[in-house]
Amino acid sequence: AQSVTQPDIHITVSEGASLELRCNYSYGATPYLFWYVQSPGQGLQLLLKYFSGDTLVQGIKGFEAEFKRSQSSFNLRKPSVHWSDAAEYFCAVGVPNAGNMLTFGGGTRLMVKP
Protein backbone atom coordinates (compact mmCIF):
# COMPACT_ATOMS: atom_id res chain seq x y z
CA ALA A 1 0.00 0.00 0.00
CA GLN A 2 1.10 3.51 -0.68
CA SER A 3 1.95 6.06 1.99
CA VAL A 4 2.89 9.72 2.16
CA THR A 5 5.05 11.54 4.67
CA GLN A 6 5.20 15.27 5.18
CA PRO A 7 8.05 15.68 7.66
CA ASP A 8 7.24 19.26 8.64
CA ILE A 9 4.06 19.74 10.65
CA HIS A 10 4.48 23.51 10.91
CA ILE A 11 6.55 25.94 8.90
CA THR A 12 6.81 29.69 9.40
CA VAL A 13 8.30 31.92 6.73
CA SER A 14 8.49 35.64 6.26
CA GLU A 15 6.44 37.25 3.55
CA GLY A 16 8.52 37.47 0.40
CA ALA A 17 10.79 34.61 1.37
CA SER A 18 11.04 31.40 -0.58
CA LEU A 19 9.22 28.27 0.48
CA GLU A 20 9.78 24.55 0.16
CA LEU A 21 7.41 21.98 1.63
CA ARG A 22 8.65 18.44 1.70
CA CYS A 23 6.78 15.34 0.64
CA ASN A 24 8.03 11.77 0.47
CA TYR A 25 6.01 8.85 -0.73
CA SER A 26 6.18 5.11 -0.69
CA TYR A 27 4.84 3.19 -3.67
CA GLY A 28 6.14 0.37 -5.79
CA ALA A 29 5.86 2.17 -9.10
CA THR A 30 5.44 5.73 -10.28
CA PRO A 31 2.34 7.10 -8.62
CA TYR A 32 0.20 10.07 -9.40
CA LEU A 33 1.21 12.93 -7.11
CA PHE A 34 -0.76 15.92 -5.95
CA TRP A 35 -0.53 18.97 -3.77
CA TYR A 36 -3.68 20.44 -2.26
CA VAL A 37 -4.17 23.56 -0.16
CA GLN A 38 -6.82 23.98 2.50
CA SER A 39 -7.49 27.44 3.88
CA PRO A 40 -9.23 27.72 7.25
CA GLY A 41 -12.84 26.64 6.97
CA GLN A 42 -12.46 25.82 3.31
CA GLY A 43 -12.39 22.72 1.21
CA LEU A 44 -9.36 21.43 -0.64
CA GLN A 45 -8.07 23.15 -3.72
CA LEU A 46 -5.72 21.42 -6.13
CA LEU A 47 -2.45 23.31 -6.58
CA LEU A 48 -0.80 20.97 -9.03
CA LYS A 49 -0.47 17.37 -10.07
CA TYR A 50 2.03 15.02 -11.65
CA PHE A 51 0.96 12.09 -13.77
CA SER A 52 3.91 11.62 -16.11
CA GLY A 53 6.35 13.53 -18.33
CA ASP A 54 8.21 16.63 -17.23
CA THR A 55 9.19 16.18 -13.61
CA LEU A 56 8.93 19.89 -12.85
CA VAL A 57 5.26 20.77 -12.60
CA GLN A 58 3.82 24.26 -12.55
CA GLY A 59 0.67 24.93 -10.61
CA ILE A 60 -1.63 27.74 -9.65
CA LYS A 61 -0.76 30.68 -7.41
CA GLY A 62 2.91 30.55 -8.42
CA PHE A 63 3.60 27.11 -6.96
CA GLU A 64 5.72 24.43 -8.55
CA ALA A 65 6.78 20.95 -7.53
CA GLU A 66 9.47 18.59 -8.69
CA PHE A 67 9.13 14.84 -8.85
CA LYS A 68 12.38 13.09 -7.97
CA ARG A 69 12.06 9.39 -8.46
CA SER A 70 15.43 8.60 -6.91
CA GLN A 71 14.39 10.32 -3.69
CA SER A 72 10.71 9.35 -3.79
CA SER A 73 9.95 12.99 -3.26
CA PHE A 74 7.57 15.60 -4.60
CA ASN A 75 8.49 18.83 -2.85
CA LEU A 76 6.41 21.96 -3.29
CA ARG A 77 8.12 25.29 -3.86
CA LYS A 78 7.29 28.93 -4.23
CA PRO A 79 9.92 31.64 -4.80
CA SER A 80 8.15 34.39 -2.88
CA VAL A 81 5.46 33.74 -0.31
CA HIS A 82 2.47 36.02 0.14
CA TRP A 83 0.50 36.41 3.37
CA SER A 84 -2.49 34.83 1.66
CA ASP A 85 -0.53 31.59 1.27
CA ALA A 86 -0.97 30.84 4.96
CA ALA A 87 -2.91 27.57 4.98
CA GLU A 88 -2.62 23.83 5.39
CA TYR A 89 -0.89 22.00 2.56
CA PHE A 90 -1.45 18.34 1.80
CA CYS A 91 0.60 16.09 -0.42
CA ALA A 92 -1.25 13.09 -1.80
CA VAL A 93 -0.49 9.95 -3.73
CA GLY A 94 -2.85 8.33 -6.18
CA VAL A 95 -2.59 4.89 -7.68
CA PRO A 96 -2.81 4.91 -11.48
CA ASN A 97 -5.99 3.34 -12.78
CA ALA A 98 -7.65 3.53 -9.37
CA GLY A 99 -9.76 6.56 -10.18
CA ASN A 100 -7.57 8.82 -8.12
CA MET A 101 -8.39 7.29 -4.79
CA LEU A 102 -5.83 9.28 -2.84
CA THR A 103 -3.69 8.70 0.20
CA PHE A 104 -2.88 11.94 1.98
CA GLY A 105 0.10 13.02 3.99
CA GLY A 106 -0.36 14.47 7.43
CA GLY A 107 -0.25 18.02 6.18
CA THR A 108 2.02 21.01 6.74
CA ARG A 109 0.62 24.16 8.27
CA LEU A 110 2.23 27.23 6.77
CA MET A 111 2.32 30.47 8.69
CA VAL A 112 3.52 33.68 7.08
CA LYS A 113 5.11 36.46 9.11
CA PRO A 114 4.65 40.03 7.90
Binding site: G43, N100, M101, L102, F104
Partner: protein, 114 residues
Amino acid sequence: SAVISQKPSRDICQRGTSLTIQCQVDSQVTMMFWYRQQPGQSLTLIATANQGSEATYESGFVIDKFPISRPNLTFSTLTVSNMSPEDSSIYLCSGTGQNTGELFFGEGSRLTVL
Protein backbone atom coordinates in the same frame (compact mmCIF):
# COMPACT_ATOMS: atom_id res chain seq x y z
CA SER B 1 -13.78 21.36 -13.60
CA ALA B 2 -16.45 19.75 -11.46
CA VAL B 3 -18.19 21.65 -8.71
CA ILE B 4 -19.13 19.55 -5.71
CA SER B 5 -21.76 20.75 -3.29
CA GLN B 6 -22.32 19.27 0.12
CA LYS B 7 -25.01 19.83 2.65
CA PRO B 8 -25.22 20.45 5.44
CA SER B 9 -22.06 22.51 5.61
CA ARG B 10 -22.05 22.12 9.36
CA ASP B 11 -24.24 20.69 12.08
CA ILE B 12 -24.27 20.07 15.78
CA CYS B 13 -25.69 16.70 16.68
CA GLN B 14 -26.64 14.84 19.80
CA ARG B 15 -24.97 11.60 20.79
CA GLY B 16 -26.82 8.55 19.51
CA THR B 17 -28.45 10.26 16.55
CA SER B 18 -27.67 9.81 12.87
CA LEU B 19 -27.05 12.41 10.18
CA THR B 20 -27.05 12.10 6.41
CA ILE B 21 -24.75 14.24 4.32
CA GLN B 22 -25.63 14.86 0.71
CA CYS B 23 -23.16 15.38 -2.10
CA GLN B 24 -24.14 16.72 -5.51
CA VAL B 25 -21.76 17.07 -8.45
CA ASP B 26 -22.55 19.45 -11.28
CA SER B 27 -21.10 17.20 -13.96
CA GLN B 28 -20.38 13.57 -14.40
CA VAL B 29 -17.56 12.08 -12.44
CA THR B 30 -16.19 8.61 -12.86
CA MET B 31 -15.67 7.81 -9.20
CA MET B 32 -16.85 9.31 -5.95
CA PHE B 33 -15.21 9.01 -2.57
CA TRP B 34 -15.93 10.02 1.01
CA TYR B 35 -13.12 11.20 3.27
CA ARG B 36 -12.99 12.08 6.94
CA GLN B 37 -10.80 14.78 8.42
CA GLN B 38 -10.66 14.65 12.18
CA PRO B 39 -9.73 17.84 14.04
CA GLY B 40 -6.17 18.85 13.27
CA GLN B 41 -5.63 15.73 11.19
CA SER B 42 -5.18 14.80 7.58
CA LEU B 43 -7.77 13.19 5.36
CA THR B 44 -8.62 9.52 5.65
CA LEU B 45 -10.55 7.68 2.99
CA ILE B 46 -13.76 6.18 4.31
CA ALA B 47 -15.06 4.49 1.20
CA THR B 48 -15.57 4.54 -2.53
CA ALA B 49 -19.17 5.23 -3.44
CA ASN B 50 -20.22 2.84 -6.20
CA GLN B 51 -23.14 3.68 -8.42
CA GLY B 52 -26.06 1.37 -7.83
CA SER B 53 -24.21 -1.00 -5.55
CA GLU B 54 -22.67 -1.24 -2.12
CA ALA B 55 -19.81 1.07 -1.33
CA THR B 56 -16.27 -0.23 -0.94
CA TYR B 57 -15.04 0.51 2.57
CA GLU B 58 -11.50 1.05 3.78
CA SER B 59 -10.07 -0.71 6.76
CA GLY B 60 -11.59 0.61 9.96
CA PHE B 61 -14.85 1.73 8.40
CA VAL B 62 -18.00 -0.37 8.17
CA ILE B 63 -21.31 -0.06 6.40
CA ASP B 64 -23.38 -0.17 9.57
CA LYS B 65 -21.65 2.93 10.88
CA PHE B 66 -21.25 4.80 7.58
CA PRO B 67 -23.91 3.68 5.10
CA ILE B 68 -23.33 5.21 1.68
CA SER B 69 -25.53 5.43 -1.35
CA ARG B 70 -24.87 6.54 -4.90
CA PRO B 71 -28.07 6.19 -6.90
CA ASN B 72 -26.67 7.97 -9.98
CA LEU B 73 -23.46 9.39 -11.39
CA THR B 74 -23.74 12.81 -9.77
CA PHE B 75 -25.23 12.22 -6.31
CA SER B 76 -24.16 10.41 -3.18
CA THR B 77 -25.03 10.36 0.49
CA LEU B 78 -23.07 9.42 3.57
CA THR B 79 -24.84 8.69 6.84
CA VAL B 80 -22.99 8.85 10.13
CA SER B 81 -24.95 6.51 12.37
CA ASN B 82 -25.33 6.39 16.13
CA MET B 83 -22.94 9.29 16.52
CA SER B 84 -20.55 9.77 19.39
CA PRO B 85 -18.21 12.69 20.10
CA GLU B 86 -15.42 10.76 18.38
CA ASP B 87 -17.31 11.21 15.12
CA SER B 88 -16.83 14.98 15.29
CA SER B 89 -15.01 15.64 12.04
CA ILE B 90 -15.17 17.22 8.65
CA TYR B 91 -16.60 14.82 6.10
CA LEU B 92 -15.59 15.52 2.52
CA CYS B 93 -17.10 14.26 -0.67
CA SER B 94 -14.85 14.00 -3.72
CA GLY B 95 -15.16 12.98 -7.32
CA THR B 96 -12.81 12.18 -10.18
CA GLY B 97 -13.43 14.37 -13.20
CA GLN B 98 -14.51 12.37 -16.22
CA ASN B 99 -12.24 14.17 -18.64
CA THR B 100 -9.34 15.34 -16.51
CA GLY B 101 -8.93 12.54 -14.02
CA GLU B 102 -8.53 15.24 -11.41
CA LEU B 103 -10.01 14.68 -7.97
CA PHE B 104 -12.32 17.48 -6.89
CA PHE B 105 -13.50 18.09 -3.35
CA GLY B 106 -16.56 19.57 -1.80
CA GLU B 107 -16.11 22.13 0.94
CA GLY B 108 -16.89 19.55 3.56
CA SER B 109 -19.50 19.02 6.22
CA ARG B 110 -18.31 19.89 9.69
CA LEU B 111 -20.06 17.75 12.29
CA THR B 112 -19.86 18.36 16.01
CA VAL B 113 -21.31 15.67 18.24
CA LEU B 114 -22.16 16.63 21.80
